[in-house]
């Protein structure tokens, strides 16, 4: 609540006070989470149940989740926790400064400290588990149960398929026109359109609200109050809408968890969360069927839309370009932005890449992967906030989510054969119900995204569907042979 208010409503004058309020509350929470009595109670439950089984699976899983969280928290020395908290605040300022100066060198010493501290945290958390690498421990934080080896093999397959495909797409002489994207669009009308479409797909605004913030996000105050934010610009209308649908996808997940205050009824992982936002943003919002449904609403934004067919809008919103910036990238080039970051952080943590050399490596990889010449650090290595917040192992979840979204959509199409007609007529309820059954209602009952997909769809995460989706779509759209 404090964080949401800060990002949406708070006057900036109160930033320092709010920081103190949040750190006071974090201190109280940490104390409660590591209260020694809690652990003995959890152990007692597990022991009693071993002697005489009484707990059902859900209860056992809940106790196990709480015990794991407790043990990991408990293993962090208080001074290390305090250091990490302080560092992520000061590193944020250092990052902002260095980005302003377009100078990675100015940020490198701080980034070194961020890596060192995150590694110390991971080392503490993993305890005596010698089978786990530090990076595995970090990955587990954001994508429970998914290790580096598994991700390596998935990402390798994606990269091999996409690098040549992107190259063909960018070289194609028949590009869809992006003319329908730009113009002058009233912000209030964009908000109205976004609200109409995000509630159409199934975001329940009566159990939440939609606000505006600098960076779009979603935030769950409780199962009955899941909020999303978006942002709009006057010269382009699609980014604001896409952001709203993306956050709407996150919120639909949160709104359809079983409503309880128990950790078992929260989202499984960051990748699972991203699979939900991307399912709606891409497999619905970037589809031809969706634009046949949504096309009639566009003239409310601007009368000039009457000149375009749904297919022309579909082409414009799916236009591919090789850009510097991850958050502005299209679905085809986005995966390579993630793989680049994943490889870099993995190599720093394994010791094979010195922090000071990250910028050089970044720029070289951008050239190889996307044929882009990075001209300054703010457009390259300094573009993302994540590392300054000690969030190593976070980036890969974006791509895992994209892959899972494609796989889910593939099976959803099998279960709902007339899905295109449904999308075209604006009937999203069966799709939302399908996702609720396959993903939402399970909360954290599975050990990983892999095991949920295996149980629900019959196979673990498989990049095939993602690669097929992109290959078919862009071969058609760019008329590749």
């Amino acid at each position: 609540m404090l964080s949401y208010d800060q990002l949406v409503f708070m006057p900036s004058s109160a930033a320092a006070d709010r920081g103190e309020q949040m750190s006071a509350l974090a201190g109280i929470l940490h104390e409660m989470k590591t209260e020694p009595g809690l652990k003995s109670l959890l152990d007692e439950i597990l022991e009693l149940d071993q002697e005489q089984p009484e707990l059902d699976q859900d209860a056992l899983r809940l106790v196990a989740l709480e015990r794991k969280a407790f043990v990991e928290n408990e293993r962090i020395p208080a001074d290390l926790a305090a250091k990490a908290a302080g560092l992520s605040t000061s590193a944020y300022s250092d990052w902002v400064d260095a980005k302003g100066k377009q100078d990675f060198g100015a940020f490198a010493p701080t980034l070194q400290e961020c890596f060192d501290t995150a590694m110390a945290l991971a080392d503490a958390k993993k305890g005596n588990d010698d089978n786990k690498t530090l990076y595995d421990q970090m990955l587990d934080e954001f994508e429970v149960g998914m290790g580096q080896e598994r991700i390596d093999s998935i990402f390798r397959e994606v990269k091999s398929a996409l690098v040549p495909l992107i190259s063909d797409v960018l070289a194609s002489p028949s590009k869809p026109s992006d003319k329908p994207l730009s113009g002058q669009f009233d912000i209030e009308k964009q908000q109205e359109l976004s609200e109409k479409l995000v509630t159409s797909i199934g975001y329940d605004k009566d159990q939440g609200r939609i606000d505006v913030s600098v960076h779009p996000f979603s935030s769950s105050m409780s199962a009955k109050d899941v909020r999303i934010t978006s942002r709009f610009r006057e010269d382009e209308w699609y980014q604001g809408l896409a952001g709203t649908i993306h956050e709407g996808g996150h919120a639909i997940y949160e709104q359809n968890l079983i409503p309880s205050a128990l950790s078992i009824d929260s989202a499984l992982s960051m990748g699972t969360h991203e699979s939900q936002s991307l399912f709606w943003e891409r497999h619905i919002g970037l589809s031809k069927a969706f634009w046949r449904f949504a096309h009639p609403y566009l003239p409310e934004l601007d009368a000039s839309f009457e000149q375009y067919t749904p297919e022309e809008i579909y082409g414009a919103v799916n236009r591919v370009s090789n850009s510097f910036i991850r958050v502005e990238a299209d679905e085809l080039t986005y995966p390579l932005h993630v793989i680049l970051r994943y490889n870099i952080e993995k190599d720093v943590i394994s010791g094979s890449l010195p922090v000071k050399d990250i910028a050089t490596r970044w720029n070289a990889d951008m050239k190889v992967l996307l044929d882009v010449d990075v001209t300054s650090d703010d457009l390259g290595v300094l573009q993302d906030v994540h590392w300054s917040g000690l969030a190593f192992g976070y980036f890969p979840t974006y791509l895992l989510g994209a892959i899972a979204a494609s796989q889910l959509f593939h099976y959803c199409q099998q279960d709902i054969p007339d899905i295109e007609a449904k999308i075209e007529s604006g009937d999203f309820q069966p799709i939302k119900d399908w996702l609720k059954n396959k993903v939402h209602k399970h909360g954290r009952r599975y050990a990983s995204l892999d095991s949920m997909l295996e149980d629900q769809l019959g196979e673990p995460l498989n990049p095939k569907y993602f690669i097929d989706y992109l290959t078919n779509k862009y071969t058609d759209l760019y008329q590749l042979s």
Copy 2:
């Protein structure tokens, strides 16, 4: 923050969840506030300082304040605290129901329980202090250091002066016209005007924000983030503006306390708070000089305002009528609404008035004091929420605040001889500075409103200035002889 969000932004679907969140947080706070180690630390400080004085006055006062709060909290048995918390939630629903049915009888058993529980709380808090009555203990909660005897004598004087004055005013054949008040006024334009005027008088919107809620209130998240809310109706423009200025007065107080997180730098009492909101709402916002300043802005609301002089606006906003409802009452009749409630709660607590007879007493007193025939309980005894929240001793602070506001304005006029010219030209800074020096910056350094006024103005709270202000103003406006 949770409460502000609930009143301003939260979807109503989340009410039950929010209730649980707030009560969880309240439980944690209570535990921290009554943590035994805290008391021994406070005692130790006081003992050490007695042996070898090291603390300055502020520090001593802070320790004393914290110790008093600790001891009072500590004296409340846990089951009584839980009962009171649960009761104020259920009593609120009972009150809403009974009000809907216009039936005091339906609420009387709950109200009895509210009185009993509040008396048990006061009895626990006052400990062995036999000089204090239960009602004194309750008053101390809202108006520190002000007992029943003192308030009795002040209110008696006010009542004797106002009853005949109101009767004369209501009988006067020359009433100012209230025609300028009504019409059709765009809500957004009202908001803009309110914002313009409340920032003119000195509310710093860059260190706060203005929102809309069902009941206007102000809320301080920190010294750098003090928010106000207001509400507007389309058929009358003055209530919304007055509410904004009123809450702005509260907020100016909070914004000009010494910025710290210490209890010594918070507001002295509810009456002191109300003196600040009413100072701005009445002595500034209802003055002729203010309407000479604000009159040019009114045509922005509606072009028809061009036909009125500042004096006609002044007359309209100061129009007196004897109404049923306290929150809609003008400044002249308002005091009697407070005195009526004060006498009733005092008599119930002393045992001389049974709860079941409150409605009869209410209606009889309304007839005597304001010559009003109460036609149904929802317009009478059931109009206010306070008692369902166990807030006995709260009502008198409204009138103490009004009296203090008049006294402060009297001395402010003496110190700023050209105050009228300043108001007329929109130069409110010297007035705000004066209030900061006399009231705001002292926080809780004084033992009571009385002792602050005595030290700062040379005399304790004196109803003379309030009576003189009302007598002079309304004798003139209603052309009484």
